[in-house]
């Protein structure tokens, strides 16, 4: 496959940045999208040009590092896959592909396509944990009986890899799907009950401080989420928040 790529190039956080067009040749349809970018970078290096910076790590869809807004969609046109799992067979020979970083005030661009998602880390620090004594006398997690339905729903919520596709896809740059997945995975389990009130209040508060927008229930996040995190989690977070507000 031969392709034309329109890629966002930005030297650093303070650079204005612009879209730059690159031809790329000899792409196999079996390659992943990131492998295609590797080929582009090799071709750029051979020509003595600066390679394109992009985030990646595990390349098997579990680390949440890869991002990219491809042809107007987070993680590209395929569903329930991360960019590293997106295959070039989803595109046509000769196609022009636009590649941009995830855009949000709370996700500033570091360089080219790499972004700073530490706002998600700070939200996690605000309450995305349970306090457990790890002195050696830790209770076996399986000693607590948990209804199968809740265990499954908590597991579904916990599959969120924190990639930020929800924020990138949302017209309001809202982080509610991410935060609600983290709130839900604990809210559904007995271990999460002790800190439930503070957790939801503090995580939502931190989310608002980071400058994410407000949710208007468009549902773009659910469609674009590579892990299929359900909007039901946002409804659950709203319930948890109301409950916590009433409790004080």
């Amino acid at each position: 496959m031969n392709l034309t790529l329109k890629i966002w190039r930005q030297k650093n956080a303070s650079d204005k940045g612009k879209m730059v067009t690159y031809p790329v040749t000899d792409i196999s349809e079996h390659m992943s999208f990131l492998e295609m970018l590797d080929v582009l970078n090799e071709q750029l290096i051979e020509k003595g040009e600066e390679p394109v910076a992009f985030d990646h790590d595990c390349r098997e869809g579990i680390c949440g590092m890869c991002s990219l807004y491809i042809n107007g969609e987070a993680h590209g046109p395929d569903r329930k896959v991360t960019t590293c799992q997106l295959h070039m067979r989803m595109f046509n020979d000769g196609e022009t592909i636009t590649i941009e970083p995830f855009r949000a005030k709370a996700f500033p661009v570091v360089k080219d396509l790499t972004i700073d998602r530490s706002s998600f880390d700070r939200i996690q620090h605000a309450g995305g944990y349970i306090s457990v004594n790890t002195s050696g006398n830790t209770q076996d997690a399986n000693a607590l009986p948990i209804p199968k339905k809740n265990a499954d729903l908590a597991m579904d919520a916990a599959t969120c890899i924190g990639c930020g596709a929800c924020v990138a896809s949302c017209k309001n740059s809202s982080a509610m799907l991410f935060v609600s997945a983290k709130v839900s995975q604990y809210a559904l389990l007995p271990q999460g009950q002790v800190e439930a009130t503070d957790r939801v209040l503090n995580m939502v508060n931190q989310m608002d401080l980071e400058g994410f927008g407000n949710c208007t229930n468009t549902g773009a996040c659910e469609v674009e989420c590579p892990k299929g995190i359900s909007l039901e989690n946002i409804a659950r977070m709203n319930r948890e928040y109301l409950k916590a507000t009433i409790k004080g």
Binding site: S174, N217, G219, L231
Partner: protein, 233 residues
């Protein structure tokens, strides 16, 4: 901490949008029911209109609540839209929003502003003259000819006069089409915001929302057209 920040938090704001939305949807149903009477029985329409227009509970207690809900819903809607625009200072060169969202859900501010413009027209048309007659001129009788007891109530006749103008009826129809689009997203969205939507009820909620969003505005449009065509001819 929690109680002071609720209405400022992103979750609190959407809950308040939803609650005022629920109230306004209930109001729409009540308004439509009374409007329907104008087609079924002019006398009954006159009686109910007079009751609504002169009953102290409706006028002094419920009317301010309605005013508050309308003003709150649109001011909060505009504030939220402005805040949300700030959350993405640099936009996308290529954004395929149609791949994951409906036009209605993305453009609540547009449909909302058209409805707001209609409400201004509606206030000038009906509410301000009504307030003038009742509270400035002091005529609470509701009679067609003040002081003439057997002249009958004025409400039905006034309604017919309003729907003579094709321009007014046209504006009315456009506003209610936009209301339908607003409700198509707003109905189920309100349930989501208060935490009442689940994977089990979401299909039923959306279906019921679609019916509500179609039937209620269609009802208002049909009544306007009915009076336009029956009175003009």
């Amino acid at each position: 901490m929690a109680k002071t920040t609720f209405r400022k938090s992103s979750v609190g704001k959407k809950v308040l949008m939803a609650l005022t939305g629920f109230f306004l949807m209930f109001f729409l149903l009540q308004h439509l029911t009374i409007n329907m009477l104008s087609v079924i029985s002019p006398d009954m329409f006159n009686d109910v209109s007079h009751f609504m227009g002169t009953n102290p509970i409706v006028q002094i207690a419920l009317q301010p609540v309605l005013m508050f809900a309308v003003i709150f819903h649109f001011i909060m809607g505009i504030v939220l839209d402005l805040q949300n625009r700030k959350a993405r200072p640099v936009g996308y060169a290529n954004n395929n929003a149609g791949a994951n969202t409906s036009w209605m859900s993305r453009n609540m501010i547009i449909s909302g502003l058209v409805i707001l413009a209609f409400l201004v027209l509606h206030f000038i048309d009906f509410w301000i003259p009504e307030m003038n007659v009742k509270y400035i001129q002091g005529d609470m009788s509701g009679l067609l000819e003040p002081g003439v007891a057997d002249s009958g109530y004025r409400y039905f006749e006034e309604l017919q006069h309003k729907f003579v103008s094709p321009i007014r009826v046209g504006a009315y129809v456009i506003a209610f089409v936009l209301l339908a689009l607003h409700l198509q997203h707003g109905f189920a969205s309100a349930f989501q915001s208060v935490g009442a939507r689940t994977n089990n009820n979401k299909t039923a909620l959306q279906k019921f929302g679609n019916i509500f969003a179609f039937a209620v505005p269609l009802g208002f449009i049909a009544i306007a057209l009915f009076h336009h065509f029956t009175y003009s001819h």
